[in-house]
């Protein structure tokens, strides 16, 4: 799994050279988003699934943190209704 993730990250870094003439990290935000949207809608199943997996890891890394949950206003309490009174 780790090897597949490393391979996908390398592809994301270098595939943009074919289209934009520069690697991913040298692109502006708009070109980065355009390139990633292309991966998300790719006709190649493996690329699409790979991107989905990477995106899931990124979401996990960000929204999986209690601090990020609190920041978006998600504050559940084990006492449920009582805690709202």
């Amino acid at each position: 799994m780790h090897r597949q993730i490393r391979l996908l990250l390398r592809l994301i870094q270098w595939l943009p050279v074919l289209r934009f003439g520069r690697p991913f990290t040298s692109l502006d935000n708009s070109s980065r988003a355009q390139f990633l949207a292309g991966l998300q809608n790719s006709r190649v199943d493996r690329l699409r699934v790979g991107f989905w997996g990477l995106r899931t890891l990124v979401m996990l890394g960000y929204y999986g943190r209690p601090a990020a949950a609190a920041k978006i206003g998600y504050n559940p309490h084990r006492s449920g209704w009582e805690a709202t009174r």
Partner: protein, 508 residues
């Protein structure tokens, strides 16, 4: 390797295993030795923190990230003392008559399944929550459905003293949910059944169960296992497999059995599901109160989908929405204003959808969305979005669309916006928690794995008692039906105990 011997070994402690353990416990007073082996830990009440990633790592197989072979879907499988009954929402529905009749299992009638179901409705305190316990996330679903003329129904739930933490899917922090960890397993232990947690069954070698007990990691949560860490050879006269629709067929596939079972692993269904969100103009009560109080099943027969209310956690919600960047973040930042609906497709048995094992013996689930499932999901998405807008949402996130952010002005154009071609691997996040089939019941080994008593064809000492018995999708939340079937399996074992236990291989 440690050697132990029991008369009956039950594998798994969820709706199936917990029920079998309770129902066989009276045999213990006659000197019958029964062990229940559970892969996950037994948590203490204080271990249920409600923190999403932390609890998912403990209570779900692969932390909730178990993927089908082509990566098209995530499968949720609970683990721990109580199995998936720790992490469901407690919604308790009896199997419809049309489903049991369609199953057409010789000897298994609707009246019997329903009678056994009602036993667990009573035992698990199944009832409707009062109106004052229904949050706005659920009220808005009812409002939207009624405005559209849909026939919305309230879920009976199996809670006792629910405080409305909304954290059901991470294990109730208030022990209100009446899963097997609260009802059947304690009953079984009081009756003499030994429960061994952190005990993973590797394979069956004939009537010998090969298992490994893991120690509790430093800083880990839950009670240590009743057995010391290490590998065990457990001799049994009767084995009852209750590992669920993925792990039960996988265990039997990697075991040495004296009978050819060509249908083993086949017939897998799972109610593929999508989480949808609609954003309102104001904050609503959504992460307080029971998350799943209502459902809409009037489209099951015509369009093959069910809608249910739901409320998930930040990472699960973020993962479930399509896209990334500003559009995605805008929905996440509106979390207190979000209404959520779960779309479930009632899939049916397909020849290629099945469980196998890889060369290491690990479970592999092959699943492709049939044209009917894609159509059901698309119709479900359209209907859910209509409900959001009828309830007053300003916009909805529609995952199967070129642009998933759909403002309310487009409520009449949803048919043109939703595109079922997006239901392909990697485009839309689809998950499933109602895993069924793989050891289906039937008449002979040519059409099934077990008979209607869960007795594996050609293997007199081996039974199955879990959702893997379902010959096809049950089209509702499955746990009460699992309990009803497990009750039937246990009754048969009790009735036949004399011959089963005396003809079994005797061990010291």
């Amino acid at each position: 390797m440690n050697e132990v011997a029991y008369d009956i070994v039950i594998i798994g402690s969820g709706a199936g295993g917990g029920t079998v353990a309770q129902e066989l416990a009276p045999l213990c007073s006659d000197g019958v030795r029964i062990a229940l082996l559970e892969k996950g830990p037994r948590l203490r009440d204080s271990d249920f923190t409600g923190r999403e990633v932390e609890m998912a790592q403990i209570l779900y197989e692969d932390g909730g990230g178990f993927l089908t072979a082509d990566g098209s879907m995530t499968l949720a499988m609970g683990r721990g003392y109580g199995g998936s009954t720790i992490v469901y929402t407690g919604t308790s529905i009896a199997a419809p008559q049309r489903v049991i009749e369609r199953w057409n299992v010789p000897g298994l009638g609707f009246d019997e399944v329903n009678r056994r179901t009602q036993k667990f409705v009573q035992q698990n305190n199944v009832h409707l929550l009062g109106e004052d316990r229904i949050n706005e996330n659920n009220q808005l679903f009812v409002k939207g459905c009624r405005r559209l003329g849909y026939r919305v129904e309230q879920f009976p739930v199996n809670v006792k003293g629910c405080l409305g933490s909304s954290l059901c899917n991470l294990g109730c922090p208030n022990q209100a949910k009446q899963g097997t960890h609260r009802v059947q397993l304690p009953n079984a232990e009081r009756g003499g059944v030994e429960v061994i947690t952190r005990c993973k069954v590797l394979r069956l070698e004939g009537q010998t169960v090969i298992a490994r007990v893991d120690g509790r990691a430093a800083g880990g949560v839950g009670d240590p296992s009743a057995w010391a860490p290490g590998e065990y050879r457990i001799q049994a006269k009767v084995v009852v497999v209750c590992g669920g629709a993925v792990n039960s067929p996988a265990l039997l596939l990697r075991s040495r059995l004296p009978s050819a079972l060509p249908r083993l692993g086949h017939g897998f269904t799972c109610h593929p599901a999508l989480i949808l969100v609609g954003e309102h103009n104001r904050p609503i009560t959504n992460f307080v109160g029971h998350p799943k109080s209502y459902y809409l099943d009037q489209f099951v027969e015509s369009d093959g989908f069910i809608l249910e209310t739901c409320m998930y956690f930040p990472f699960t919600t973020a993962k479930s929405m399509s896209g990334f960047g500003d559009g995605h973040a805008a929905f996440m930042q509106a979390f207190p204003k979000l209404q959520m609906i779960l779309v479930l497709a009632c899939d049916h048995v397909e020849p290629d959808n099945r469980v196998t094992v890889d060369r290491h013996g690990l479970a592999v689930v092959h699943y492709r969305f049939s044209p009917e499932v894609k159509r059901a999901l698309a119709q479900g998405v359209i209907t859910a979005a209509r409900i959001f807008f009828a309830a007053g949402a300003r916009r909805a996130h529609v995952p199967a669309a070129a642009n998933p952010t759909v403002p309310s002005e487009y409520a009449d154009s949803l048919d043109q916006i939703v595109d079922e071609s997006y239901f392909r691997p990697g485009s839309v996040t689809v998950s499933a928690a109602h895993l069924q089939g793989g050891c289906g019941m039937g008449m002979t080994a040519a059409d099934s794995v077990t008979d209607s008593h869960g007795h594996v064809h050609g293997v007199p000492w081996l039974f199955v008692a879990d959702a893997s018995l379902f010959p096809d999708s049950v089209e509702i939340n499955p746990y009460l039906t699992i309990m009803a079937l497990a009750d039937r399996v246990a009754q048969y074992i009790r009735q036949e105990a004399r011959s089963l236990l005396n003809s079994g291989v005797a061990h010291a």
